[in-house]
Symmetry: C2
Subunit: 210 residues, 2 copies
């Protein structure tokens, strides 16, 4: 079946949004924790976190400045810090609920029952219930004129995770952490590992690792 531009242009708006949001494939599911200068916290689910580089350790995500993500963006620009917390299968309902349009003075932590966790001197709140949490320092934002979104880049300053999740070679067992993934706007999925494959070389086929 082919959907061409004519058919795309004629689509109902909501249908189109659900469809196009499906097309990148499975997405990461993360909660971004921030606080503003007067101490109000914010928590926002994002499905656009993407690895940008290992050295420096950079993670990026996309924000729509006029959406419910607005407070997240304002806060991280104000303080320079934010946390990224993996959504796991025990908290995906609360995580989804953070996308509701709460008033500025109501923290999504409080509204959804997820727990603020302040660790050491880090200037943004972690999600206590997440098994993998990252502390990031804001580095760059690129406004994307093409559709008014912003591409936010941060550097990972600290990593928190349950013991035993990292294999000898640095690979993290996201399944053991219960990390879920997302499809389209609202599909939540567990995963089952097929395999890990060896580093690809031109002269041979990849083999299973482990």
């Amino acid at each position: 079946m082919k959907i061409d531009q004519t058919r795309l242009a004629a689509m109902d708006h909501r249908y189109r949004v659900a469809l196009i949001n499906s097309l990148s494939g499975f997405k990461s599911a993360n909660l971004i924790g921030t606080v503003n200068q007067t101490g109000h916290t914010n928590l926002s689910i994002v499905s656009s976190c993407v690895h940008l580089g290992a050295d420096p350790a950079l993670l990026a995500f996309v924000v729509r400045p006029h959406s419910v993500d607005r407070h997240t963006l304002e806060n991280l620009l104000e303080t320079g810090y934010y946390t990224v917390n993996h959504v796991n299968q025990d908290i995906y309902r609360q995580a989804h609920q953070t996308s509701a349009r709460y008033p500025r003075d109501e923290s999504e932590f409080h509204a959804t029952g997820l727990t603020e966790d302040w660790r050491g001197e880090f200037k943004a709140p972690y999600v206590k219930e997440a098994r993998i949490g990252l502390g990031l320092r804001f580095r760059e934002h690129h406004p994307l004129a093409i559709n008014g979104t912003e591409f936010i880049i941060g550097e990972i300053e600290e990593i928190w995770m349950d013991d035993g999740l990292i294999a000898e070679d640095g690979f993290v067992d996201l399944e053991a952490a219960g990390t879920v993934c997302v499809s389209s706007l609202d599909g939540y999925h567990r995963t089952t590992k097929l395999t890990r494959l060896s580093y690809a070389k031109p002269d041979r086929s990849p083999v299973d690792i482990e």
Copy 2:
């Protein structure tokens, strides 16, 4: 367990790369198909495809210009077109193998046994074995000075998929398409749907859809 900056800085390079690549969560798995002006095709697996917007329908991905992705980038800049094809559970081994460093004149289609599929007038090759394929027109690239990567934005001009994958509301059943996801550099995973959740509103909890 906490990993701080001192520990991060002291890590073995490969360990660090595997670890940091794990931290964004599960990633999409796509094959990007291109051709250069003399007709040589190229196919490259990427795990950084991210939804950017529904109207216009925009998809973005990250390229390292000095890596094996180089030919993909050169080709799509030359012709202005590329395809994005979902990696499914029948082809993930061949898809992984496209990341080997083949010489410029050897197509990864030929080397891995995946089949070039030219559809209508579209100026880039699809992967015949993929059940979801997108035809994109290159729109923008943003060089990210922070680490020398490029953020590539394209507009979806056509969508090809097997019949029966789209629900009444536009949601695509990626599991029925066999689409896989990736963790770290080399982990491949199937998924199992937990549920779909209703649009979040401040005054009530989300309920399951379907």
